[in-house]
Amino acid sequence: MTDLSTKPLAMWLRLPKLSAAGSICGLWLLIIVIAGFAGPAILGIDPNGVDLLARLRPPVGFGGTVDHLLGTDQLGRDILIRICHAVRVSLLLALFGTLIGAAIGISTGFLAAHFGGVVDDVISTLIDFQAAMPFLILAIAAVATLGSNIAVLLVLVSVFGWERYARLSRGLALSYLNNGYVVAAQTYGAGWGTIYSRHILLNILAILIVNITLTFPEILMLETTLSFLGLGVQPPHASLGSMMNYGRDQLFKAWWISILPGLAIFLTTLAVSTIGDILSNRLSIDRR
């Protein structure tokens, strides 16, 4: 029973072949994760260390020196170490946002499928409402009322995208509930909790994971956009977006302050999206 229900997940976990594009994307993600979580310890430089004698130094290759590989900002702070710290903030926010959103979405989707009736109506209306609204604008309005700090940001990125998981898991649960193995599980006395978590969830996990690879880049983009507008992560913390915002008025004098964190965002969203494409092709899940 368990063997059968975990098959879709195992199918792609056991695939050893990786395309060139897939390996490059995986390698980049590995680099960015190591940079974010081990980088600060390895480099050992203070991200807020001000050095007024070394202001606006360009990166290596553009006239810079090796002691500041990616240059410095208008206060002489090292861009590389600041990017490492910012990557950690941005990645953690996007990761928690994705996971919490998925958890909310999957459980509400199952609730709607299980109870039907009024519960289903309420949840479906909420799904339609959120899908119709431009989330960025609502997030900006929410920041206006609740203020901008990490906690508010975490709530916003968690609420983003829940409706996709909810729609998916509701629809899939409805179709799986009529399957023979659900009836079989009921007959041998399995509770609904077991049926949903052990049988239905495992069967739809592959589709949900593909959806995660679709949502993660958008959540990363949402957080960095808010921070870029000055409405997200606030000093002394820095996210990739707030670094870009900080360097914006120096763009024509020192492009690296804004552009380098931006490239880190771009390459990360690109890598996750590409891996998502590869996964959905292998599993033949229609994504868009």
Partner: protein
Amino acid sequence: MTMFILSKLSRAVLTILLALAFAFFLMRIAGDPALAFLGVDATPEAVAIFREKFGLDQPLPVQFLYYMANLAHGDFGVSLREGRPVIVVVSEVVPKTLQLMGLGFGLAMLIGLPAGILAAVYRGQFIDRLVMVGSVIGFSLPNFLLGLMLLLIFTLWLRLLPSGGADTAVSFIMPTVTLATAFIGVVSRYTRSSMIGVLNRPFLRAARARGLPASTVLWRHALPNAAIPIVTVTGLMFGGLLGGASVIETVFAWPGMGRLLVTSVLSSDLPVIQFIVILLVITMIFTNFAVDVLYRILDPRIGHRGSMPVAGSAR
């Protein structure tokens, strides 16, 4: 059809009323607008005068009734920052945003639709791969990064385009391209997958077998049948374009509604934010309504139930 439109319309009005109430209470739980606007070190006298001037000294339910009554009279309050009616402040900047969104939408369609159709027709070939790679890059590229890079290239290095403002025709080029890029990716992807779904159907092979030219089959038979998912995306794009506009207007100092929203948030000008959100909710509800009606015109098979087949939101 009339019954369908009436029932949809009444639901839309109900949603708008709910959204109005929601906007009011959301803004009021934010804390004291007087303190938010004047700062925590404001003198008690100044706060009292401010409260009286904007009616903030009344109990909350009374404030809400006044608010609804004022809305009915078309009075949306006064901007705390500018001291002028919100409706005037916002309507001054709306046209510039609409121009930007219209141009961005047009460009996205102009490039995205043909690219998606080409990719579907030449599925698996070089063009297809080119379009797919281009579309992933398009919607992975943060619009603020693209905007800053265009500024570097075309303003600083080539000295061809102005860095901001909306004064001349050339000022439109960079903001429009920046806004359209992500949506070119989204439109081409949806068009491709929707066309692929239709191209495999037997009725197209039958049309070819009857001797109809390939172009007729493509434009007359395939495209109309692939239109529904494409219309869904364009309906969703509207909200995404608006969100994108708030970023792009900030980057290019574009005097539009998005930039007004961001500056209003930074200066806690709640009445302006409230009005923009209300405007937005109403617009989105009517966009969805229009898309629903358009579905039924495009495909008479679609019934009343499940009339909102939204497939993931476009940024």
